[in-house]
Amino acid sequence: MPAAYVRATPAPVLPPPAATGRSWSGLLRNLVGAPQSLLLTGLVLALIVWLVPELLRYFVFDAVWHGGAAACRAANGACWTFIGQKLPYFVYGSYPPDQRWRVNLVFAIGAGLVIWLLAPRAPARRLGTWAAFLVYPALAFVLLYGWPALGLKRVSSDLWGGMLVTLIVATFGIVVSLPLGVLLALGRRSHLPAVHWASAGFIEFMRGVPMIAVLFMADTMLPLFLPEGFEPDRLVRPLVGVALFASAYMAEVVRGGLQALPKGQSEAGKALGLRYWGIERLIVLPQVLRLTIPAIASTFIGLFKDTTLVATVGIFDFLRTVDSARLDPNWSGPTITTTAYSFAALVYFVCCFGMSRYALGLERRLAARYGRTAG
């Protein structure tokens, strides 16, 4: 065979062959192609056949969609009318019914701001950021807590409850923990010993203590640190506890990202004459936050679920309202408890899954724009 070769005609440029990865025959081969896959497919099918009809029966066909407590007591399925009747309590807690429009207004403005800030290619995002982080909290506070001079009756936070409280705790936690976590992460990497040890100490303490203990400490100790006669609101204490707790976890997530970013990025910044805060703000953090989107989303999801723990210090969050509503003697029935907890699970799942999907979408959008590699 001759070793030399010289191309005489150019190799033709062809379209790719038809897709092979996701065809039906390929799927079939994966499912039943080999004895092991046949066995696994059979097991999974059996599980589906066993579970799905039972779930459908309980939650759909035998469920009570119309009719009152008596119908529910007789039924052998979920009691959805109970959920429908208790829904206002799940959303507002004991907030006075004639004042609930104020909560609705806060929800509506909040939803509008979330869409404004999270939607891709939204206009005037900078203005939206100021509105969301400065104007909105003050406005929400005035609306919810009341301002008699403006004709808004005072509603003590003892009466707040349900989804309202869950969203307040979660939103406050998310909004505070990200910037505080970033500062703690930078602090832990600082060359200044005082800053380093203070940050590391705070992070390790918060991570080493159960969240419930943090909540109890916030509830009982926070008043001790504040001046005499200035009693922080009952709801403010767990709010601070949750935010500080989440910040410690966020700090470690961000620190992981800081370590993953090639050192050359900040060196290039230094070589161009930027100073520490310029490098962190303009070069390091934008890349680190993008790198850590999956972990940040996980932390937010964890935080959202952890808000249920504020019930231990007597706050009526969403899960606590569901839990107390199921004990209502007017609705006593064999399926009430299952219905109530299933509904709570569904609501938490929808919220957390939504966050997860948004994070995934954001990740993909950014990857499409900037590519996958750093420096």
């Binding site: 090639p262 050359g264 990025q265 060196e267 290039a268 910044g269 230094k270 070589a271 161009l272 004459g273 930027l274 100073r275 310029g278 303009l282 070069i283 934008p286 890349q287 993008r290 724009r369 900037y370 590519g371 996958r372 590699t373 750093a374 420096g375």
Partner: protein, 247 residues
């Protein structure tokens, strides 16, 4: 010529240790403005560490280093870095910024230049490195040679008096090497920038350098004009090095 303000870079009795390891030993170099220096030597000889000392990316324990007559101290570091540009072996473009934003970042944030003027300046230098059509691309979309050309434009946008090149072609494929070297040659000549370049490209050294510094084992072994350096090396270590790379 004892007035140090006439020196672009003045290094006297510089010593540096990594822990107990003495990486730079009694370094003495003085570079006049506009001079073009090539630093070569085997790997681990301390040549990269030396040029990284000039803009304070590395610190040193003993000796004196002055840039443009300014002694390098914590107080003068920012001022020194504004006047010293650097091009890295691995480009180090900011991956979250477009090519144009990479070039305008420092003029806007450090020199406080208006955005529009910084954009014009960036486009000017991007055109000079033949990357004008890539202004809106992101670094991940560019080849190594293209990234390095952008990195050169980014450094030049700060109008540095001194340019440091840390093995600017070592990470490039062979076809891009000549391209980038030609660019460094013409641009530093036109801008009359003082240049210190760490490189293994001996042809480039011979063509461009006013002086070649040869380092080995953390010390400067020989400094000479390129012609003399390549044709009549004095030190035994230099002869060995040249005999191994110029075959």
């Amino acid at each position: 010529m004892t007035d140090t303000s006439l020196r672009a870079v003045e290094i006297e009795h510089l010593n540096k240790w990594y822990g107990a390891f003495h990486v730079l030993r009694d370094i003495n170099v003085s570079v006049t403005p506009g001079e073009r220096i090539v630093i070569c030597g085997p790997s681990g000889s301390g040549k990269s560490t030396l040029i990284r000392c000039i803009n304070g990316l590395e610190d040193f324990q003993q000796g004196r280093l002055a840039v443009d007559g300014m002694d390098l101290t914590a107080g003068s570091l920012a001022a020194v870095r504004r006047d010293v540009g650097m091009v890295f072996q691995h480009f180090n473009l900011f991956s979250h910024l477009s090519v144009l934003q990479n070039c305008t970042l420092a003029p806007v944030e450090v020199r406080k230049m208006p955005r529009r003027a910084a954009g014009d300046l960036a486009r000017h230098y991007l055109a000079r490195v033949k990357m004008a059509d890539y202004a809106d691309k992101y670094p991940a979309q560019l080849s190594g040679g293209e990234q390095q050309r952008v990195a050169i434009a980014r450094a030049l946008c700060m109008s540095p008096k001194i340019m440091l090149f840390d093995e600017p072609t070592s990470a490039l494929d062979p076809e891009a090497v000549k391209d980038v070297l030609d660019l460094i040659m013409t641009l530093t000549a036109e801008e009359k920038t003082t240049m210190l370049c760490v490189t293994h490209e001996m042809g480039f050294a011979r063509q461009v350098a006013d002086r070649v510094i040869f380092m080995a084992g953390g010390e400067i072994v020989e400094i000479n004009q390129p012609e003399a350096f390549f044709t009549a090396p004095q030190h035994a270590r230099t002869k060995l090095f040249l005999s191994q790379i110029l075959r």
